[in-house]
């Protein structure tokens, strides 16, 4: 029995090969220096729909039906967030706990997400060199995101390594933001138009850096 009012999502219905859903999670977007701009850039791309999770569910009361409908309507799912304690901000964990239901996302009948592409676009405060066995954080960024990677596998999704910006706190001052945004936009467009070499991308430690080699130009 459904008691919810019927909500029609007025989301962009771009006739693209792979519509993209960006789940944006930043608890204080007004202080964001990088994620906010990535979110803005994403909203301006046809075929990309962005959901500001903290904005839509300020009390963490995630609407499971609505979120599942969104997942069904898109082929590429992206988490856009700063790295908090080697993971996502809390609302994205809440989103996983609630939306990735048994019988929907996993389990014998849970095949709704099969074949969809998933990756995380994140910003990390530490320098890239710190994310390795000898470094301060002891693990590579891809290793640290193993729970996400395995969750994606459990849901039958195609997992891509993270699109990561390191030393994010000084990115603006050092003039690295604009290039990062351009790369982000290129990546989303390539995914949307199915121009990214998925199997090669899956092997990388992170998505950005050598991206242009993986994108087939139109």
């Amino acid at each position: 029995m459904t008691l919810e009012p019927h909500r029609t999502d007025t989301e962009d219905q771009h006739p693209s090969a792979r519509p993209i859903l960006v789940l944006y999670a930043h608890p204080s977007p007004d202080r964001s220096e990088v994620n906010r701009h990535l979110a803005e850039a994403a909203t301006s791309i046809p075929g990309v729909n962005l959901v500001d999770l903290y904005g839509e569910y300020p009390d963490y009361g995630i609407d499971v039906d609505r979120e599942q409908a969104r997942l069904l309507a898109h082929e590429v799912i992206v988490f856009l967030h700063p790295l908090y304690w080697y993971s996502t901000p809390a609302i994205l964990k809440e989103w996983q706990d609630l939306v990735l239901e048994h019988g929907f996302a996993y389990g014998t009948e849970g095949t709704a997400l099969h074949g969809k592409v998933f990756f995380s676009a994140l910003t990390a405060g530490g320098p890239e060199l710190a994310y390795r066995a000898e470094g301060f954080h002891h693990f590579s960024i891809r290793e640290l995101l193993n729970p996400l990677e395995q969750s994606a596998h459990l849901c039958g999704m195609v997992y891509l390594p993270p699109f990561a910006l390191f030393s994010a706190r000084t990115a603006v001052e050092e003039g690295r933001l604009d290039a990062h945004i351009l790369e982000w936009v290129d990546l989303l467009k390539a995914l949307r138009d199915d121009r990214l070499d998925i199997s090669r991308a899956q092997q990388l430690p992170k998505l950005n850096g050598e991206l242009s080699a993986l994108i087939r130009q139109e």
């Binding site: 008691l3 919810e4 009012p5 706990d97 609630l98 239901e101 048994h102 996993y106 389990g107 014998t108």
Partner: protein, 643 residues
Amino acid sequence: MDGMLFRLFVYLCAAVIAVPIAKRLGLGSVLGYLIAGIVIGPLLGLVGSETSEIQHFAELGVVMMLFLIGLELDPSTLWAMRTRLLGMGGLQVALSAALIALAALALGTDWRLALAVGLIFSLSSTAIVMQTLTEKGLSGTQGGRSSFSVLLFQDIALVPLLALLPLLASPELLLIDADALVHAPQAAGSETLAHAAEMSLVAGLPGWAHGLVVLGAIASVLLGGHFLSRPLLRFVAESRLREIFTAAVLLLVVAIALLMTLVDLSPALGTFIAGVILANSEFRHELESDIEPFKGLLLGLFFITVGAGIDFEILFGDFATVLGLTIGVILLKGCVLFGLARLFRLKTMDRWLFTLGLAQAGEFGFVLLNFSMSNSVIAMEDAKLLSLVVALSMLLTPALFVIYDRLILPHKSRAEPADADEIDEQGPVIIAGIGRFGQIVNRLLIASGIRTVVLDHEASQIETQHRFGIKSFFGDATRPDLLRAAGIEEAQLLIVAIDDRDRAVQLVEYVKRRYPSVKVLARAFDVNHLYLLRKAGADVALREVFDASLRLSAEALKQLGMHAFKVEKMARAFRRHDEAGLDQLYELWDEHPDVAKNRALLARAREHRETLAVLMETDRLQLHDRTERGWTPPPKGAQASSK
């Protein structure tokens, strides 16, 4: 009686015809009034000698305008503009007076007369300039604010000028006039200031006593304005009779004006001071909206009398001289103003506004010319001629503003891109009603750094707010003029939290119709009121007791031992169910708002209640399950079978 009605008819008729036409032609209302005056006075001869008498009365309009200007400026704002006020204003008066005096000397006048004329023509017209600036929405710009500072300084300078001018009396005129003036020279001089002059408190007093009386008068305005006016207004407000409140406000203004004229001070200055003192009071917006229409009409009347008072005989008899002098004065003042604008680094647009706006002579010119004449400073025929120059320069001012509009303003976009300093602060949030509901709203907004304007018609409520240091204003928020005074035109939000449910709906309806860009958030008493508010256009309407009841019931569940997070989920589910039902019922309600007769609505309401009852009683787990989604573990053994 007939005569009075006829004159009233003529004045109103002229204004009603001329002003809208002038506005339509882009000339501004001031020029419209002036033209109306010329038509009914010198042109058609419908009004005659009584004009100057009416003009004295109409000067109350100028007085009220200064009162209103004062209300907009609290003491701290006034203090903040001291540099501009003294620097710009002082230099403008001194330099203009010097330059005009030099020009007069060059034309061969006696130095005393030259200096007197210089001082008289250094003043500009507060009435025309402020009215035009406000009308064109330019009073907030840098040029507008600078103009205002200069005008304010001139109004203050009127006081020493009145003391100074008699010292410039020409010995010859004194001899001639000696007989005529031997009786009461002082009284004769003051008569031009107001009718009350014959009751002057200071006539014939020695200098020190005069000074003391003047100081006493100013002190009484300051102290009375600060300590007496508010309790008085509060007392009157308690009577809930609007016209008596208006009468009290008028009384306040007239009383101060009278007091000032009794001691030979500018009544405009006195009411300005009173305005500044009341600028921080809770009655500010109510005072503004009560005085505003009187000010507008009287000021209009004043401009009509200026137009009607133009003596065409002298004008056409000596047209070249009058025109030459007028243009000369405007040019000289313009040069001084332009120089000052450069000195004080005004931007190009503002510099021209400042220069063109203030180049005329002012209404105080008439006053000072009459005063000088009766003090033997200037001969009668010269005074008449110069009065004409003052009038003509005022008449030309709207034309100068037209030059600004047509020739200067179009260059703006190219000359100056964006003016970062001038971005107006964000529009306020207006809160109508500061009872128990409005108070909480206001506290959170203020704590978040939002500027609010609070309105309430209960004087006692406002007083309580003041005790807590919350700025709020007395007045009925459903009155359009008060809303305007509170700034509804620039407001971002209006929050309706007034106790009268019908008027709340009317207020929402009016504001959404008149100012569609203002978002309206309203407190509803119950579902029916909520629907009425929503239909009236409220962007958000919330039932006042819903949240508190829900919280209390949640507390009850917790007291019964239910886990707090489970209670939270239950309450959320309940809220969603309720809000969804509210939306569904609204559609039915909207078709037929008479609830008692709306069968479909009643049926649906019953159905909605029942679904909740079913949910909660017979299938209790269903609701739990829905709230438990995602935290519910998969069926045993499911994990193994997946992948």
